[in-house]
Amino acid sequence: MIKVENLSYSFNDFPLLENLNFEVNPSEIIHLKGENGSGKSTLLKILSGILNNFQGKVLSTAKNVFFLGHNLGLKDSLSVKDNLLLDYRFNSEVDSLSEALKLFELNSMKETKLFNLSQGQRKKVSLVQLFLSKYDLFLLDEPFANLDQKGIELIENTIRHHQNRGSSVIFTSHEDHNISSRELVL
């Protein structure tokens, strides 16, 4: 799915990533680990094409890439529904939306403006997007942060669901998760 060769990235001449080599196969779930500031988020941004000033090679066969960043990309002044439907990543049927919202217990807040939601609820909104979207490669930066146990299980199931469809997932997290097929430590 994706192959990284001799990837290096530096910020203001300060090397953040040095000579990374790894490969991600289809249907593989990679748990990206590392201390704070080790470049996990940066690596995900490079793989998703947001940052492109790196050295080395990133070869990808993924037709499309889903990125979930630290900043969720949601608009405070839009409703939950609009935030989901007008998201650039939304590539599913509109009908599937309400079912997903029910699953994440957000159905009653469909028309609520996002600034009324708590941090955890916002996170859930962006995870509905993750649940609905069909992509080859998922790059998730801290998908489990700010979530309760129920939410975490929901995400684990979602990730498995995408895996079964043949997608690859790379996620970062500080806790251990038994869904990952492989751990990658930076």
């Binding site: 941004k45 947001i50 940052l51 990125f67 630290h70 969720l72 949601l74 608009k75």
Partner: protein, 219 residues
């Protein structure tokens, strides 16, 4: 499934509509600024008529500066820009749409308002129409320079941005005022033509520069 660009248009439009401050802000600012001029210069009819075109143009220029930070800065802060870059779509059209939506919600209302307020400054009817036309050609230039300044200073405040926008926009202001002042002469067409040419050449150069400026923050 809606296209990427249609989503951009709809999303931005909804954001503007849902927040009264983003489109009412420039209007209020414009109205308060033009009220200041008679208070400062006196209500002499002849004097105001002479200054009117300039008053309205300057007020719109300043009112527009308020809204430019909305074009790219919010998308940068809330992470939407990450998603745009990750989408791998052509950004030229995307940036054009964003600037257009900003212009549509913050400059277009002001153009209509300027037609109304021109009578308060005793501007002749014909000249008022020319005023609206020059604003129609000139305000997109302001929006694009504003977008560029915003794109350059995504992380920092807006003050740096304004100090770049205003000097760059001077030709638009001058040509606009000259056109209004020569509304009875044939020179009018010369100035209108130049203003249109300035707009025409600004579009590719400035939007490409905007994209370059945005890329700076993602290297």
């Amino acid at each position: 499934m809606k296209s990427f660009y249609f989503k951009t248009f709809q999303r931005d439009s909804k954001v503007y509509l849902s927040r009264s401050s983003s489109f009412l802000g420039p209007i209020v600012f414009f109205l308060i600024t033009i009220t200041l001029y008679p208070l400062a210069f006196g209500s002499d009819e002849e004097k105001l008529a002479e200054l009117s075109a300039g008053i309205i143009w300057i007020s719109i220029l300043l009112a527009n500066l308020l809204s430019h930070q909305f074009i790219f800065n919010e998308d940068y802060k809330d992470g939407s820009l990450d998603l745009v870059l990750a989408s791998g779509k052509s950004l030229f059209l995307w940036a054009s749409i964003k600037i257009f939506v900003n212009w549509y919600f913050s400059s277009l209302p002001l153009i209509f308002l300027s037609l109304l307020t021109s009578f308060m400054f005793y501007l002749p009817y014909d000249a008022a129409l020319i005023l609206a036309l020059t604003l129609f050609l000139g305000t997109p230039i302001l929006s694009m320079f504003g977008a560029l300044a915003g794109a350059l200073t995504l992380e920092r405040g807006n003050i740096v941005g304004s100090s770049i926008v205003i000097p760059m926009c001077l030709p638009a202001l001058i040509l606009g005022i000259l056109a209004i002042q020569s509304y009875k002469n044939e020179e009018l067409f010369f100035y209108i033509f130049l203003l249109a040419a300035f707009l025409f050449f600004s579009i590719p150069i400035l939007i490409a520069s905007c994209l370059g400026a945005i890329r700076l923050h993602f290297e």
